[in-house]
Amino acid sequence: MTASAHILQKGSVTRVMLLVLACLLPGVLAYVWQFGWGIVINLAWASILALALEALALRLRSYPLKPFLADGSAVVTAWLLALSLPPLAPWWLTLVGMLFAIGVAKHLYGGLGQNIFNPAMIGFAVLIISFPAQMTQWAAPLSLAAQPLTFGESLGFIFGGGLPPGLGLDAVVSATPLDTLRTGLLQQHTLHEIQAASHVFGSVGGVGGEWVAAAYLAGGLILWALRIVPWQVPAAFLAGIWLTAGFLHWADAGRYAAPWFQIATPSAMLGAFFIATDPVTGATTPRGRLIFGLGAGFLTVIIRAFGGYPDGVAFAILLMNLCVPLIDAYTQPPVFGAAKKK
């Protein structure tokens, strides 16, 4: 009959989710600036899919639509997935990804707040396992592209697969720096040779990508300043990458990329500030968050260096999602006055 407290602070899940989206905007802008219009189309397409799929799932589970569509969590998932996919990914790739993200990873586990795994990362993992070819056709940075696609041409490519006449696929897509690195290493080239031979490498990270990473960092810092995300996860995640990559680079500079290069990838920054910080699937204790972040950073580099896929952020975070209950159980902070008891 009573529900204390009788007064509530202003704030809601919707506000949290909208702030996350707002803080992603710098990254999106940088993305458009460096890689063209494709990402905007895919963000919109993913958002539409997310809301439609969410509505469908809610209807099937006889949950009310309005409060759960308005909470914004589906759109956040959509953006995170779209930003992880190649900017010119075909429409059906996003569809399959969102189907798994919203349908399987979120609603089969009980919907908002109940999922064990980050939905966007489940969608990403399913896609990279099922469609490795499409997933590595990254849009070339505009500065390297022979002829940038216009908005209409991007739309046509994403939904029709057709390119303007006279333009080959190689003109619009290229491998990511991480992918280039991996292929080169498989061909027994040294790091130095690969970087000298390819033009996708920028001053710190990849051409274009390093700007996007910097924008994610900026947005992420705002998110932290607003106390939406705790400092522990991003800091530990980046530290995990830096330390692991640093050790490998120190051990064999010819094979393993420098730590700054690893951190300056868009996926690392997006993962650190926006994906690993997902409260639902992350650790909740301060020490637990440090362990969670460090583990995810460590696994990211390990997978990049020794795994079968060029990037490891998604798998690293999913693996750490799995460990969350254990981490939380063993990192409970002492309660007020607990120290004096013993």
Binding site: M1, A3, R61, S62, Y63, P64
Partner: protein, 183 residues
Amino acid sequence: MLTAILVMAGIAVAVGAVLGFAALRYKVEGDPLVEKIDAILPQTQCGQCGFPGCRPYAEAIAKGEADINLCPPGGEEGVKKLAELLGVEPKPLDESHGVQKPKSVAFIDESLCIGCTLCIQACPVDAILGAAKQMHTIIAAECTGCELCVAPCPVDCISMVPLKEDVGNWKWKYPVFKLKQVA
């Protein structure tokens, strides 16, 4: 060949020694199963299960002579706990032994009591106070609500009064948390 056999034998001896030591070192005292079952039973001592009290029933369960669903005061929840303890499937309460009733205490209509002491003898937990030819009274706090005193009373002056919720025993309710649409 010989070396392999010797190595294997050596490992076997070593492991055996460790196991033997562990068995002695970490020995578990006694068989606490009866105690554990008895702890789950509600201690009403009503005998509805067919055994003269909760402990005999616990012993029978432990020996596998009685089923776990014979205790109406324990209710479905009690059956579930027993099933969990014994690692068996829970089953519905056996209604031939009675149904679960709200917790009650016996009440003696003191204007009718003749002081025959028959109820005092019937009470399994000595919760009735009185002497021969003196009016008897139930110690409500000790009464388990077993009803065993009701039948022996020659003047039918004992009735079972269900315990009512009051400010003293009231519990906070589970918050209603409606996510689903009410159909």
